[in-house]
Symmetry: C2
Subunit: 440 residues, 2 copies
């Protein structure tokens, strides 16, 4: 059988990794796929640089549309990124009857519904294993490996930059700003790290996992997104003393009321494997009703790990593109006509547990007042850590930290209590609130 | 489209789990698969008991051949186990043109080559996700998710019974025999635990993973198999002091000389995630040249976790059975005509590192003699731990433990040195040798 021909848009880090891995392992990949897979055309704005990377045998053009227009190309890999030109090119490739492989989580999390519908109508596949957790085959696990299960929740460390920063903060007892600068110096954080540190990148990824896990449309606009920029070394230390580590988790959960979809720093029990995922590594936990808890771990970014996922998609398409579309794996795991209409819950309706740190005047009755407010709202306390008085304020008053771990409660209820606590004259600083996930 | 019809052979723990999960989640599974999947016929020697489990709507027979002979059945699930009648039934089901799903690792590790060839010739699939690591979709990850990679090695905790025993030995400082009895009482070990504790079950599983990872035939007879029955609490404690845990690992590795295929207790650095997999849980690490190190974790046994894998295979077959056989995923990941002829290495040719514990007379020059023998053979030492003299022998002589960690060496070379050491008059007891894997 003659090789399947692939056009590659964007010869950046992942693009060159994909080209190199496919070339290095071409014999082994062909022995698996039963057919050769060749990148025969590449589009990049810097034609000369791209040509130098791929060598003379491959046609390099500056105009991505020339790749899409090439009738010999069966599959288009989109590695440009972003919502702009990338979206137009993906839609045009679909319209031209090409299968598409993309690592573009932002594009799919925001415009996935439109893109998947167009692909479905045209009878082509849009594959996106590389969009979530790099080389870890988590999309395949969720969409095929765990297909017997009613999935209960998914929780993952799905942004390497923030996990690197949190690992360093804990290891070295440093604050966020210092570690961010180090991460930028080492190449773990970009010059503009906003999408990573504010949780947006993780929210793109968990939005895609949520859709696949529960059969709902991609709804990035409904995700709750909170980053790690406000985390201090003190909270990481207190959490450690209480038996927890702080990780930025993307979480999606099925409840009787609807779907939870949220990204925020979370306390996780130290004995969980995921609490021990350090540096820039990623890990995703999936809880299914039959299988129980499973975990998938690996590199979540980088040239060749991401290329590993891109090429796995190429092989899948090579295998399935001659098959009846009805026999393919649906884009969002569920058949297009059988999606769920479960709504994404507003954050106030989410039920979870909390770590609270309050800077209080070291006076008799303060703790009783605080715990009384929680009790009045029906919120149970799991643990309290009260520090010795450690600082004398300008008014000559002793201050101390009180840490409270709550049991599960509705976030809206907790917000009301936090407002009451904050208004107390004995509460001397903004209350720190970090969510806590037991993940069992 | 009318439902695909499934016949189930063997209504034991996994059989009833499969029936129950398929029934409980039938609506959700159909929404994914695009087609209903129904177990319409069950064979079990205890017809009355099986009928009570499945209810009146399902036909229950005592003769498995009646299921295979039923022209309405598309897929046969074999959950009988063992090499005997199970093999005959699987071969007959294939001959009858049925697709087969099995959890029978023993059968496939020993007779896989014959079975897969028959299936290939007949154009049917034999799916076996449930045969390795229960509900963890490791077969799918190796065969599809990591298909871009030249896989370097696979190492896994793939037997829950032995991992439970090792976890308890470490936790409670108890010896093997005591913990085995406890495991049997709790249902983690069978009345005859030989296959588990002697490493045979793990060897069946790693044999299958080896074939898939490297495209070689299944060759259980070439596997090196060593169980955990000789492990003592002392070695677990010493390993801990040196920064290691002892796990029973199934390991397969590609080297320039050939394929390593082995099961034995192994020291693993405590900071590796896999060293922290406790109790009856399973985990498999896979190292690929592009993706780097990945890990897959979950329940490796039990009714519903194993059912999760059986049903995932049912869905895969439901999707692919109308497709051209050339477009399906090959049984052993590589196309039947493109398998490798890399040989499995004898254990003497394996290169790894070692933990040695020697009971020696507490005399001057003993350590120099031991390390001299290693140096003469070109074996480097990584660490030495010498204990205070702790016991006076009957001859009135002080004895002590010397622990030596070596760097990588050929096992055949080490064996020669061990024979020399054992012959020394100052070595007072059989030398304990445990292999050590850095897994990085």
């Amino acid at each position: 059988m003659k090789p399947i021909k692939v056009g590659l848009l964007g010869m950046g880090t992942v693009g060159s990794g994909t080209f190199n891995v496919l070339k290095r392992n071409q014999e082994e990949i062909q022995r698996r796929a039963g057919r050769g897979i060749e990148i025969t055309m590449v589009a990049d704005l810097d034609v000369a640089r791209a040509q130098a990377l791929v060598g003379e045998g491959v046609q390099v053009v500056g105009d991505a549309r020339a790749v899409i227009a090439n009738p010999e190309i069966d599959i288009v890999i989109e590695l440009i990124g972003g919502y702009g030109i990338a979206k137009a090119l993906v839609m045009e490739a679909i319209a031209a009857g090409k299968h598409v492989v993309t690592a573009n989580k932002a594009l799919l999390a925001v415009h996935g519904t439109e893109i998947f519908a167009a692909a479905q109508a045209k009878g082509v596949m849009v594959a996106f294993e590389a969009a979530v957790a790099g080389g870890i085959p988590i999309i395949k696990a969720l969409r095929e490996g765990l297909t017997a299960n009613s999935i209960q929740w998914v929780a993952g460390i799905i942004n390497g930059t923030t996990n690197f920063i949190l690992s360093e903060m804990r290891d070295k007892g440093l604050d966020f700003g210092v570690v961010l600068k180090e991460a930028q110096r080492l190449g773990y954080a970009e010059a503009d790290p906003t999408f990573d540190i504010e949780g947006v990148d993780a929210a793109h990824k968990v939005t895609l996992m949520s859709a696949i896990a529960f059969g709902i449309p991609v709804q990035f606009d409904k995700a709750y997104v909170e980053g790690i920029t406000k985390l201090g070394a003190a909270d990481i230390k207190y959490a450690e003393q209480l038996g927890y580590r702080i990780k930025l988790l993307g979480i999606t959960k099925r409840t009787a009321q609807g779907i939870e979809l949220r990204v925020h720093p979370s306390l996780v029990p130290t004995q969980r494997l995921i609490a021990n995922v350090e540096g820039a590594m990623n890990a995703v936990m999936v809880q299914g009703d039959a299988v129980g808890t499973t975990l998938y771990y690996g590199k979540g970014a980088g040239s060749e790990p991401t290329a590993s996922a891109v090429i796995a998609d190429l092989v899948d398409i090579t295998r399935l593109h001659t098959a009846d579309p009805l026999n393919r794996v649906p884009h969002l795991a569920f058949q297009p006509g059988a999606m769920s209409n479960l709504a994404v819950l507003p954050m106030a309706e989410v039920v979870t547990s909390y770590y609270l740190r309050l800077r209080v005047a070291d006076q008799a009755g303060v703790l009783a007042k605080l715990t009384g407010l929680l009790a009045d709202a029906g919120i149970s306390i799991d643990a309290v850590l009260q520090r010795e008085a450690d600082q004398v304020s300008q008014a000559g008053e002793n201050q101390t930290d009180v840490i409270i771990l709550t049991h599960d409660t509705r976030e809206g209820t907790l917000n009301e209590v936090l407002a009451q606590m904050q208004a107390l004259p004995t509460v001397m600083a903004p209350i720190v609130r970090i969510r806590k996930e037991e993940l069992n």
